[in-house]
Amino acid sequence: MPDNSLRKEFVKGLWAENPVSRQLLGMCSTLAVTNAVVNGLAMGLAVAFVLILSSLFVSLIRKIIPNQVRIASYIVIIASFVTIADRFMAAYFPPLSKALGPYVPLIVVNCIILGRAEAFASRNSAGRSLIDALGMSLGYTIALVILSAIRELLGSGTLLGRPVLGAWFEPWVIMLLPPGAFLTLGILIAAAFAIERKARRRRSA
């Protein structure tokens, strides 16, 4: 059943092997840019672009890369796509590029991308690697959007820059500062653990 297994390759990135809540990869950008939904979404899309294209590339040329220099070649491939994403953002969305600061170039050392290149794309066909990268980047983007929605809502009372909570709401500024990022992510991961354990218990019962 090739169709079924392809779907499994896609879905695993969303929950069972979600890069943020399960594998705890890419923490730097996850924590740093999620003070507003726009930033979280932009980061998610930038990572998706780099992850999908570099997975595809690595898997296409996996047979001609000598084993000893594979990590170095992956890094060069990833760095090229990161440069494209960074320059594109700086050219078309300058305020966004300024808000994300060094964190777009830092995608190059994001462990999700090198991790997928080494653990998946270097061993699987181009099609499967593409599906895997799509699932992983969707899972990453969703996690970033949820985290940034909570922080923006509580930290400034807005969503996507529009006021949602009324004038009565006193914004919790701490949610926009670094401590808010650590606390929210900790609680979110704990919630994901708890949901998973309940679901497993129900399945076995």
Binding site: A79, P105, V109, A181, G186, F193
Partner: protein, 191 residues
């Protein structure tokens, strides 16, 4: 005086881990035992200082004069990767005990965002050479401080009765959040 201020601010106020979120992977991964955390911190500080010394000339004498700042990402990552390799080979040849102590952490440092982050931040803030080196050393000491404190707290936490969903990474993140809150108190020092 400015350099002293920059140093203090890199260690305490703009702490790499608790303010810039750089180097979170080792901060969470290698912070279960204090001595391992200390070795990691020393290794990172050493590589950060070297990176500052090496990337500044590349950026200011090569990339900027020849109008190629868009090659920053590729050249920095390659320089850092080869630097870490060289340091590893050098330490293995000259000091086996030191290699035993920090050897396994060295390869991990290549993909540590703190190193790349230092090169990028120094370029973004347009620091001069001396400022970049001071910033690098300060950032390394700040990282060491944060990871050793974290390891000390986690050693105590082993004995605590943590609610089950919070065990492992979540409680570590919450501890980091509380530490970040405490470090916010330092921001009044410099204004």
């Amino acid at each position: 005086m400015n350099l002293v201020l920059l140093f203090v601010s890199a260690v305490l106020i703009n702490n790499f881990v608790l303010h810039y979120f750089l180097g979170i992977c080792p901060f969470l991964g290698v912070s279960k035992k204090v001595d391992a955390a200390l070795s990691m911190g020393v290794a990172v500080t050493f590589v950060l200082a070297l990176t500052a010394v090496v990337t500044w000339p590349i950026n200011h004498w090569l990339l900027i004069p020849y109008g190629m700042p868009y090659l920053q990402i590729v050249s920095f990552i390659l320089v850092i990767a080869s630097l870490v390799q060289l340091v590893e080979m050098f330490v293995r040849k000259t000091s086996p005990p030191l290699y035993q102590a920090m050897g396994i952490y060295l390869p991990l440092i290549t993909v540590n965002c703190a190193i790349m982050g230092l090169a990028l931040l120094a370029s973004l803030k347009e620091y001069g050479f001396a400022e970049t080196v001071v910033f690098g050393v300060g950032a390394g000491i700040g990282f060491t401080l944060a990871i050793v404190l974290m390891a000390a707290i986690r050693e105590r936490l082993e004995l605590a009765d943590v609610p089950w969903p919070l065990r492992g990474a979540p409680i570590a993140l919450i501890v980091a959040g509380i530490m970040a809150l405490a470090f916010l108190g330092f921001s009044g020092m410099i204004k």
